[in-house]
Amino acid sequence: MGAYTEPDKVRSLTDAAALVADGDTVAVGGALSAREPMALVRELIRQGRRNLHLVGSAHGIDVDLLVGAGAASVVEESYVGFEQDFGLAPAYRRAAESGRITLRESCCYTILQQLRAAEYGLPFLPVRGIIGTGIAGLHPEYREIECPFTGVPLVAVPALAPDVALIHALAADRRGNVHLARPLVLDERFTFASKKVVVTVERIASEAEVAAAGVVLPYFAVTAVVEAPHGAHPTSCYPHYAYDRRHLAEWVTAAATDEGIAGYLDRYVHGPGTEEGYLKVVGEERLEELTRWSESDQRWQELLS
């Protein structure tokens, strides 16, 4: 990782997404239904990116959409799906079953230790588990080793330095200092392990404001910043907005067939052509509704039911 020291890193979404090349190893931030970098995901699809190798922990529509659009060829996540909410990820599932993607299913701690090895400047770190499971067979790059001190069997997992990390955050200043709210999931680790870090934010703010809120990702690690309000939609970005269950339901239904995926992409990604266009299709009224989770527990519950 080089130090990123330009005084102004604000870029257009188009330019920022162009920092991702075909075939790159891409760390996707957030998790499950929360704070996934969806504006970047949609822009990568618009730009026709191919053969991405996705790495991360537990994910949902971000990975499912990239796989459905044919942008990813290797998936190295610990989980892809919609929990008890909507069940299996339809596009990921079909691509895995038909062999259109290479499955490198991993485990949260393994991924964490691989990122840490990159951060520590070490070639590998040892982990427990894996031996005796099927996960070992999906990863010829792992090596079973014996602890030199105790003789205990361990698994050496190689350092993982993604080419690019994609992260959606609450706010950043123009220099690239980023404020994030918990759960951070792997976003800090992605930032320090990756060669490039592209961050979309709800709002570009002053340095003083970001400093007061708390810098979580420091400017020198951040390559580019893009202002993308509602950029995590349909996943949540608290405290701004809850996740859009209705939209996820629409995706899960559409993603059951290739025609359905094409229809979804046409309506929400290629058709509108830009994020501004996407937000218009989703509708101002709906976006506003998702911000009202904090009015009361009752209101919150209604939004999520």
Binding site: A58, L88, E97, T110, G129, D297, L304
Partner: protein, 284 residues
């Protein structure tokens, strides 16, 4: 202590209570994402027999929160409400890796006699019949966590408790490559397996029947279990839930997210408290 006006309760509610009773007071307990029954079980235990339990939510890593309702996704601020603290991803997984996590709830589309679980794929992994979501953190954590409480809500299908998992995602007591001890895993392995039909414990690394639900026979359970299932003698009836526990399940989960783990036939199963009876909230 009444569960509303009703004197009866549902199977889905009872399963959550049975899972709650696998928790001991003072333990640090965690569940994975997509596990509404486990979330509810942990909150029930914390508010009844295990007040000193350290409750860590799956995927937000919120510590001892007090949610107004269980949301349909585990990664939502709704489940973090009034949390004492929110751990970092690293803090939770490091805790588990060094043996500091006492108990974890794990499920699987397939579970074998040794408590190995499969959440990765049905059929061969290079051409799966069904690609499942994946194991999240279970593969590493099952090697080091103190005790595992397993559960499955599709036992009756005959496809859930199997002789052999098509793929092992999370470790039980014995894998094709050796036992837990031989592989050097410090974690304690599966301790309980709760299904919609029965409660099992593990003896010498194999599941053993401990209790069956009152509308189920031992024969019913064995018919849909893909491995030889020994039974404890005598086979004690499953202790009834306390009305306070059932009331907690209902209060915590007004959206009924737990119900999504069960088939319609199971959701139709109702049970009644006898006159003046009712269990006493405690661990098994």
């Amino acid at each position: 202590m009444t569960a509303g006006a009703s004197r009866d309760f549902g199977l889905d509610e009872w399963v959550c209570v049975a899972m709650a009773r696998t928790i001991r007071d003072g333990e640090i307990v965690f569940h994975g994402f997509g596990s509404p029954c486990a979330t509810i079980a942990m909150h029930v235990a914390k508010r009844t027999h295990a007040p000193r339990m350290v409750l860590v939510e799956g995927s937000t890593y919120a510590l001892d929160p007090d949610p107004a309702f269980v949301p349909p996704t585990s990664n939502d601020w709704a489940i973090m409400r009034r949390a004492t603290h929110v751990l970092k991803f690293e803090e939770l997984f490091d805790l588990a890796a060094r043996g500091g996590l006492d108990r974890m709830f794990l499920s699987g589309a397939q579970i074998d006699a040794h408590g190995n679980t499969n959440v990765t794929a049905i059929g061969p992994i290079d051409a799966p019949k069904v690609k499942l979501g994946g194991g999240g953190g279970g593969c590493n954590m099952s090697a080091t966590v103190g005790s595992l409480s397993l559960w499955n809500t599709r036992h009756r299908s005959g496809r859930a408790l199997v002789d052999r998992c098509d793929f092992i995602t999370d470790l039980g007591w014995v894998t094709p490559e050796g036992t837990r001890a031989e592989l050097g895993f410090p974690g304690g392995g599966p301790q309980w397996l709760v299904t919609e039909l029965a409660v099992m414990d593990f003896v010498d690394g194999r599941a053993r029947l401990r209790h069956v639900f009152p509308d189920v026979t031992v024969e019913d359970v064995r018919r849909v279990t893909g491995f030889e299932l020994a039974a404890a003698e005598p086979l004690a009836p499953l202790p009834l839930p306390d009305p306070a526990e059932i009331a907690l399940v209902r209060r915590l989960d007004p959206l009924g997210i737990r119900r999504r783990e069960f088939g319609d036939a199971e959701l139709a199963r109702r049970f009644r408290w006898g006159d003046g009876s009712g269990g006493c909230a405690a661990c098994f």
